[in-house]
C-alpha cells in the first residue's frame, strides 16, 4: 500500500509536467495540425532565461541562484516562451506553407536542434542548480510517504492553467480558435483572423512550455541544455497520443497516466530486482505501441 501511494505521488508529479508540455503540443496540433517537436525547447530556453535573471546574467559563472527572484523570473520566462512560440510560427511555420505533417515535424525537429545547440554554446554543456519556489515537503497523513511541496505547486499551476484554458475556449477568441482548427476557410469567411489565431495558439503553447520548463527544472533542481526535450517531451508526446491527439483534457489525463506508468515501471524493476535498464523509457515505448495497436484515436480523441 505504502509503495502504491509513493508511486502515485511521484507519478502525479512527473505526470503534471508531462501534462503541461502535452497541453502545448495538443493546442498547437489542434490549431495548426502540426506536431511541434520544438515544444520542449520552448521550455528549456525560457528556463535558462529565468536562471540568468536569478544569477545576475553571468552565463558562464557559478553564482548560486537567488530564489527570491524566482517569481519575477518565471513571469519573464513565460513572456519569453510566448514570444518564442509566436516567432517560431512567424519565421518557420508560416513560410513553410502548406506541407505534410511529417515535413512540418521535421522542420520543428530542426528548430529543437538549433535551440539546443545555442543553449550548449551560450550556457555550456553542464548541469546548473535550479531552485524550487517552495523547498521541503510534508508527510502524507497516516503513511510514511513524503510529498514535496513542489509537487503541490505544480499541480496547482496545472489546475490554474486548465481552468484558464477551459474559460478561454468558452470566450469569443477561444471559439474563433476552435473555428480556425475546425475549418480555416469557413472561419476566414466568418471574419476570424485565422493567421492571428494560429500565432496566438503558438504563443500560448510557448507560455505553457515556459511553465513546464521552470517547474520541471525545479523537480530535478537542475537544468542542462536540451533538458525538457530529453526528460519530458517523449512521455508528453505519448500522453497526448493516449489522450486523443487534439483533446486538451486528454493531454492532461494522458500525461498523468504516463507519469504513473513510468514510476510504476521503476518501482517494479527495483522491487523484483530485475536486470532491466531504463524502465521508464521501455514503459513509454510499450504504452505508445499499445495505444496505436488497440485504440489509435486515443482515449478522448475523435479520429486517428
Amino acid at each position: 500500500m505504502e509503495t502504491v501511494i509513493e508511486v502515485l505521488v511521484f507519478g502525479l508529479q512527473r505526470g503534471a509536467i508531462f501534462g503541461l508540455v502535452g497541453l502545448g503540443l495538443a493546442l498547437v496540433y489542434k490549431a495548426t495540425r502540426i506536431l511541434n517537436f520544438a515544444q520542449g525547447e520552448l521550455g528549456t530556453v525560457p528556463a535558462f532565461v529565468a536562471l540568468m535573471v536569478m544569477i545576475g546574467f553571468e552565463a558562464g559563472g557559478d553564482k548560486a541562484a537567488d530564489r527570491g527572484l524566482l517569481l519575477p523570473a518565471t513571469v519573464l520566462a513565460v513572456v519569453v516562451g510566448a514570444g518564442l512560440g509566436v516567432a517560431l510560427y512567424a519565421i518557420v511555420i508560416r513560410p513553410l506553407g502548406k506541407v505534410s505533417p511529417v515535413t512540418s515535424l521535421v522542420a520543428t525537429a530542426g528548430v529543437a536542434l538549433l535551440l539546443t545547440t545555442v543553449e550548449i554554446n551560450v550556457f555550456e554543456a553542464r548541469a546548473r542548480r535550479f531552485p524550487r519556489p517552495v523547498n521541503g515537503g510534508f508527510r502524507l497523513v497516516g503513511t510514511e510517504v513524503i510529498v514535496d511541496w513542489h509537487t503541490l505547486v505544480i499541480l496547482a499551476v496545472l489546475a490554474g492553467v486548465a481552468l484558464a484554458l477551459a474559460a478561454f475556449f468558452r470566450s469569443a477568441p477561444g471559439v474563433a480558435l476552435l473555428a480556425t482548427a475546425e475549418d480555416p476557410f469557413a472561419a476566414e469567411l466568418q471574419g476570424v483572423p485565422v493567421e492571428r489565431m494560429r500565432a496566438m495558439a503558438w504563443g500560448a503553447a510557448g507560455a505553457l512550455g515556459a511553465l513546464a520548463g521552470v517547474l520541471g527544472a525545479g523537480v530535478f533542481e537542475s537544468l542542462t541544455p536540451g533538458f525538457v526535450t530529453s526528460t519530458f517531451m517523449i512521455p508528453a508526446f505519448t500522453g497526448v497520443v493516449l489522450g486523443g491527439i487534439t483533446s486538451m483534457p486528454g493531454a492532461v489525463i494522458g500525461g498523468f497516466a504516463l507519469g504513473i506508468v513510468s514510476q510504476a515501471a521503476i518501482q517494479i524493476v527495483t522491487t523484483y530486482n530485475l536486470d532491466v535498464p531504463g524502465p521508464p523509457q521501455l514503459a513509454v515505448l510499450v504504452v505508445l505501441l499499445a495505444v496505436l495497436l488497440v485504440r489509435p484515436k486515443g482515449l478522448l480523441g475523435k479520429a486517428a
Binding site: 518557420v92 506553407g97 502548406k98 530542426g110 505519448t238 523509457q281 521501455l282 505508445l288 505501441l289
Partner: protein, 342 residues
C-alpha cells in the same frame, strides 16, 4: 542512354578523385572519410523513407546503433566473419523496422515519426545498456576484417559498400515494388486505386531503410573498433534527417552529398577555427555544427525544397545522359523533394 566520351571522361574523373581522396588526406582524417561514407549510406537509408514514401524517422541513430552493436556482438562474442556480422546487423535492422512500422504505419506516417522517437530513447536507455549484449558502459569491441585492418583500406571498404548500396537503390527504384513505393508518395489514393497495397509498401520501404541503416551500423562500429552507447543520441537522429532533406530528399546523389557534408562539417569547422583568426571562424567551433545544419534545413524547407540536388539539377541531368538543363520547374531531379508533397 547515349554515352558520349565527354560524359565518360567526367565519370572517370569523379571516380578517380574519389579513389584518390583516402590517399591524399592526412592520416588523422582518414577515419573522417570512413564516417562520411557511412553517413552517405545512412542518408540513402533515410532517403528510401523520406524521399520515396514521404515518411520520416526520428530514431535512425537507434537503427545505426542496433546495427553497430549487433555487428560488434557477432564479431567479438560469436566470432563471426565480417560479412556475416554485416548480414546480422541488416537483419536486426529489418526486425526493428518490422515491429515499429508494423504497428505505426497502420495509422499514419506521423505516428511512425513518434514511434521512432520513442524507440530511439528506448534504445539509448534500455537496449544499449543490456550488459551482455553491449558491454554496458565499457562498450562493445568490433574488430575490422583482417583484409581491411588499416585505416585507408577500411575507408575503401566503406566507400565500396556505399557504392553497392547506391547501385541497389538505383535498381530498387526501377523494380516493381520500387515504382509502387514512389507512386504512394505522389498520391496515396491514386496508388490505392491502381491496386497498390499502400500500408504494405510503406512497411516495405521502412524495412529496406532499416536494413540499410543496419549495414551502415556494422561499418560504423568498426571505424573506431569500439561501439559505445553515447554515439547514438537523439541529436544524431535529427542530423540524419537534416542531411537527407538538405541533400535533396528523393535524389540519391543529393542525399549522399548531404551525408558527406554533415560528416565532414565538424572537422572542417575545427580546422577553420584553428587556422583562420578572423571573425566568423573565431566564433565557429565544431559545437556549432548542429546549428548550422538546422539553419540549412530550415532554408531548404522554406526556400529550396529540392536541396543540394536542386542546385545541381543541370549537372546531374547531364551526367545521367540527358541535356544540361537548369529548368526550375523540373528542378528536383526525381520528382519531389520535401516540399512537393501534399
Amino acid at each position: 542512354m547515349n554515352v558520349k566520351p565527354s560524359r565518360l571522361l567526367a565519370f572517370a574523373a569523379i571516380l578517380g578523385l574519389l579513389v584518390l581522396i583516402p590517399q591524399v588526406v592526412p592520416v588523422v582524417y582518414v577515419n573522417v572519410i570512413s564516417r562520411a561514407a557511412v553517413y552517405g549510406i545512412l542518408a540513402l537509408s533515410m532517403n528510401v523513407l523520406v524521399g520515396y514514401t514521404g515518411q520520416a524517422s526520428l530514431g535512425h541513430a537507434a537503427f545505426l546503433g542496433v546495427g553497430a552493436f549487433a555487428s560488434g556482438y557477432a564479431l567479438s562474442e560469436l566470432g563471426m566473419p565480417f560479412g556475416a556480422a554485416m548480414v546480422v546487423a541488416a537483419l536486426v535492422g529489418v526486425v526493428a523496422a518490422l515491429v515499429l512500422g508494423g504497428v505505426a504505419l497502420r495509422v499514419s506516417g506521423l505516428y511512425l515519426a513518434l514511434v521512432t522517437i520513442a524507440f530511439g530513447l528506448f534504445a539509448q536507455e534500455t537496449l544499449f545498456n543490456i550488459r551482455f549484449l553491449t558491454g554496458g558502459g565499457a562498450g562493445q569491441i568490433a574488430p575490422r576484417p583482417s583484409m581491411f585492418s588499416g585505416d585507408v583500406a577500411y575507408t575503401y571498404l566503406c566507400m565500396g559498400v556505399l557504392f553497392v548500396v547506391l547501385i541497389f537503390d538505383w535498381r530498387l527504384l526501377a523494380s516493381r515494388p520500387g515504382r509502387a513505393i514512389q507512386a504512394l508518395r505522389d498520391d496515396e489514393r491514386v496508388a490505392a486505386s491502381w491496386g497498390i497495397d499502400v500500408t504494405g509498401h510503406k512497411l516495405l520501404a521502412f524495412v529496406i531503410s532499416g536494413a540499410i541503416a543496419g549495414i551502415g551500423g556494422a561499418l560504423f562500429a568498426s571505424i573506431e573498433q569500439i561501439v559505445s552507447k553515447e554515439d547514438f543520441g537523439l541529436s544524431l537522429s535529427i542530423t540524419f534527417l537534416l542531411m537527407t532533406v538538405v541533400g535533396g530528399a528523393g535524389n540519391r546523389w543529393g542525399v549522399v552529398q548531404g551525408g558527406i557534408l554533415f560528416a565532414v562539417l565538424p572537422t572542417i569547422l575545427d580546422r577553420t577555427h584553428a587556422n583562420f583568426h578572423v571573425f566568423p571562424f573565431t566564433q565557429l567551433t565544431a559545437t556549432w555544427e548542429p546549428a548550422i545544419g538546422a539553419v540549412l534545413l530550415l532554408l531548404t524547407l522554406t526556400m529550396f525544397p529540392g536541396g543540394i540536388a536542386q542546385q545541381q539539377a543541370g549537372l546531374l541531368s547531364w551526367l545521367g545522359g540527358g541535356p544540361f538543363k537548369h529548368d526550375k520547374a523540373h528542378a528536383p531531379a526525381q520528382g519531389g523533394g520535401m516540399g512537393a508533397r501534399p
